[in-house]
């Protein structure tokens, strides 16, 4: 009998749920809200997977502050070019990666170019290129070796920026004069020496003393316009074959000595950062805006739901307690709630976050500790009216304790309020978090939509619509989805509002 009745009970539950869904389905606002929320949940779950870029840590994944790639189809944006990475893998992890480069020398016999398993520790990949010069097998005049990569630039417009990379180590250079350099050659075969250095003694692993980068002042100073020059603009002046090479020139070689000179080269690379990037462009530091938006959705949903859950729970407990016990407990808790209610919300929030520290958990804690008062008053009033109902008296007459009455009789009758309040508290929490982040008190290690808006204002990018609209719209839409669901829940669970 128990099993069959249990199944019946379960069936009743299913029937009730179906009945509720039937009511909900009729409600256009509710469906709209639910659909929007569903979209955002999917976005928060799967959105970050579509982009490998970390929203905070991965700088310069594209040109800085560039619009989305698809902007080039819009009138007036045809000049946009994408990123170009001539080299796929720069780590020299194994000897195959050498084959991406062309290697030329003027003394074939003297140089041996091999792959070494030793590499720059903090670079990418464990290996490097090892250039060995056997001094005995060479004439004492200049010998040089060039490691080059030719790539084609198919756009008439220049990239936003180029960056190069190099790590090197020299051994056995005593008595030899060694010069190494990084050179970029344009389509008209004009050579631009971006960096060079004479090496007179052995070195540990080193890298150029300035970043060999089109944004670097040292690189700009190569050109007549100096600091006002844009090297990327000058060098990439048309379509054609471009060449990037590393060259090592040996001179005054001491043929008497038996020392073999070793030059290790690692992480040799050039990257061209275009004037457009990805789905939603990049921010001030060349970070992926799409990735920020997707991770921001996660943050916003997490903060919104958790905060609403905590604050509604606190409000429920305080309201139940105050309403049911009455007297002094009621007075004290409600006056305390009133006190919190009259303190201006945002200034208090700012001060508390400034004191407690900017972490997402602190933000959740503070927003929820300041957000329970209104709901506790609602619950209290509902409990006060429920308390006088006959069925509560009947439960007491049956021998029920206060705890039993609260849990079995009062709580189920205020749950409708709880659902509605949850739905309406979420957007409040989301916007509160966005406000905090916007004012610069967000969690700097986590990207949120408020943080994005903060960056936009901080870097005066209000006019960059591709960057402004996504976070602003998302905050508004997510808030709207919860408000819509709250309204429809209110209409369904609160029979007085039900339209027949």
């Amino acid at each position: 009998m128990t099993i069959s009745t249990r199944r019946k009970r379960f069936n009743r539950l299913i029937k009730r749920a179906k009945g509720f869904w039937g009511d909900y389905k009729q409600n256009k606002k509710g469906l709209f809200g639910l659909g929007l929320l569903f979209f955002f949940v999917l976005f928060a779950l799967f959105g970050p997977m579509l982009s490998d870029n970390h929203p905070v840590m991965d700088w310069d994944v594209g040109g800085r502050r560039v619009p989305p790639a698809w902007f080039k189809y819009l009138p007036g944006f045809q000049y946009l070019v994408p990123n170009l990475d001539p080299i796929d893998d720069v780590g020299f992890g194994d000897s195959d990666e050498l084959s991406a480069w062309d290697i030329e020398t003027n003394f074939e016999d003297s140089f041996t170019v091999t792959h070494s398993t030793e590499g720059y520790e903090r670079g990418s990949g464990p290996g490097s290129i090892l250039i060995s010069l056997d001094s005995e097998a060479i004439e004492p005049s200049a010998a040089n070796i060039k490691i080059s990569k030719t790539f084609s630039w198919d756009y008439s417009n220049p990239p936003k920026r180029f960056r190069t990379n190099l790590n090197f180590k020299a051994e056995g250079v005593e008595g030899t004069s060694l010069n190494i350099r990084l050179v970029l050659v344009d389509a008209k075969r004009v050579e631009y020496v971006l960096w060079q250095r004479d090496i007179i003694s052995d070195t540990i692993w080193s890298y150029p003393e300035y970043k060999v980068d089109s944004y670097s002042i040292k690189v700009k100073m190569i050109f007549p316009d100096g600091v006002f020059a844009d090297p990327a603009h000058i060098i990439f002046n048309g379509t054609g074959e471009y060449e990037f090479y590393f060259m090592a020139s040996f001179d005054n070689i001491d043929t008497e000595s038996t020392v073999t000179t070793h030059l290790y080269v690692d992480d040799l690379n050039i990257e061209l950062r275009g004037t457009s990037y990805g789905l939603l462009g990049t921010d001030q530091w060349g970070r992926d805006v799409y990735s920020q938006l997707a991770h921001g959705a996660k943050t916003s949903l997490f903060v919104g739901l958790l905060t609403a859950f905590i604050s509604v729970s606190i409000g429920l407990i305080v309201g139940l307690f105050a309403g049911f016990s009455g007297g002094l407990v009621d007075e004290v808790s409600m006056r305390f709630a009133d006190m919190l209610l009259v303190i201006p919300f945002l200034p208090l929030l700012l001060i508390l976050i400034a004191i407690l520290g900017q972490s997402v958990l602190n933000i959740i804690l503070v927003i929820s500790l300041l957000g329970w008062m209104g709901f506790s008053r609602v619950v209290r009033s509902q409990v006060l009216s429920l308390k006088e109902r006959t069925f509560i008296e009947a439960a007491r007459a049956a021998g029920g304790s206060t705890i039993h009455i609260t849990i079995k009789h009062i709580l189920p009758n205020v749950m409708g309020l709880v659902y509605v309040s949850l739905a309406t508290n979420v957007p409040a929490a989301i916007t509160a978090e966005a406000s905090l982040s916007f004012l610069g008190l967000g969690d700097p290690s986590i990207m949120s939509w408020g943080q994005m808006l903060h960056d936009i204002v901080y870097y005066s990018a209000i006019k960059e619509l591709y960057w402004v609209i996504p976070p602003g719209l998302c905050i508004a839409l997510l808030a709207v989805s919860f408000v819509m669901m709250g309204f429809s829940l209110d209409e369904i669970l609160n029979p007085r509002l039900r339209r027949r």
């Binding site: 009998m1 009745t5 006959t390 009947a394 439960a395 029920g400």
Partner: protein, 330 residues
């Protein structure tokens, strides 16, 4: 009907304070009270049904709730067997609750709309730890539902109150009260909210199920119903008992002018009979701080001078028939 009474009530009194609006409570020192139950004493014997009859607002319901301590009295004593239940602590009182149950007037209000019939009926069992598992719970509930003629019980167990008719709801309420076999049940106008046909059914059920309990306090405003159901009847007026005796004695030999007025007000289901005698006048006086005189004085056609000076005591005029009237103490 001769053992120790199951319930003894002594000088029970319940006054509800009336709070004036903000300022007036500061300005006046006089405190106003509604004298809902005013110095009432009576016994309810084992296996006895005591009817409590009176008009609306006379304090019947308040008295019923005082007896099982759903309300705290202002003064007086209520004994269940030998325990003064008013001296018990909250937890001691909870242990005694299964012995005393109440059936409320309005079945639309007394059942939690969010609980199934199974949970509603089993609640007294569950809160008093009288069942061990779900199987036993369902078995006991099915048994009482069957006794309540709610068959088959499986049909009803998983319904919610809003899926039941008024009569069915009241049967659930009765089942709730009787499932733990209490010694004493307060039935607070259990049939006044129901239509006539259902009313008879429920009353007959309650008579049949007398075996499940020992004694009833049956509160009603209809003398006819009380006579049908009760062994003894107490007539209440404005918080005081006016007359008390066996049902037959009260109906056949009413000694208080108010009882006589009540009896004559009982409708006779005969359209040709014309009632002409009106042996009552005026309106019920306010229960707020009533003057120290016979409560019925202003309405009594036979009132004498002594009635305006003294409140009559409840006196035995023979055979357990008690009357509170100056004119009937000779």
């Amino acid at each position: 009907m001769s053992q120790t009474p199951i319930i003894r009530v002594r000088n029970l009194r319940k006054l509800f304070p009336i709070r004036g609006g903000g300022l007036s409570s500061f300005l006046t020192k006089e405190e106003l009270f509604v004298h809902a139950v005013d110095d009432v004493s009576f016994d309810i014997n084992t296996d006895e049904v005591l009817g409590l009859v009176g008009e609306s607002g006379c304090g019947k319901t308040t008295l019923g709730r005082l007896l099982i301590r759903l309300l705290e009295p202002t003064s007086g004593e209520v004994y269940y067997r030998d325990t003064n239940i008013l001296s018990l602590s909250q937890s001691e009182m909870r242990e005694l609750r299964p012995k005393m149950q109440i059936i409320f007037q309005d079945p639309y209000e007394s059942l939690n709309p969010r609980m199934t019939v199974l949970d509603l009926v089993a609640e007294p069992l569950e809160v008093n730890d009288l069942i061990e598992n779900d199987a036993e719970k369902e078995e006991k509930v099915a048994e009482i539902l069957e006794q309540m003629r709610l068959t088959p019980p499986e049909e009803f167990m998983f319904r919610y109150p809003h899926e039941l008719s008024g009569g069915q709801r009241q049967r659930i309420a009765v089942a709730r009260a009787l499932i733990i076999h209490p010694d004493f049940v307060v039935a607070d106008e259990p049939v006044s909210m129901l239509d006539t046909s259902t009313r008879g059914e429920i009353l007959n059920l309650m008579i049949e199920l007398k075996a499940l309990t020992r004694s009833y306090l049956f509160i009603t405003h209809e003398l006819a119903v009380a006579r049908h159901f009760c062994d003894r009847i107490a007539i209440m007026y404005l918080g005081r008992i006016m007359e008390m005796g066996t049902s037959d004695e009260i109906v056949k030999n009413p000694s208080h002018p108010y009882t006589r007025a009540l009896l004559e007000a009982t409708p006779v289901p005969n359209p040709k009979s014309r009632k002409e005698k009106v042996n009552i006048k005026g309106e019920v006086i306010s229960p707020i701080n009533p003057p120290r005189r016979c409560r019925f004085y202003t309405r009594c056609l036979m009132a004498e001078e002594i009635c305006s000076r003294l409140e009559p005591e409840l006196v035995d005029i023979g055979g357990g028939h008690m009357v509170a009237c100056h004119l009937n103490q000779g």
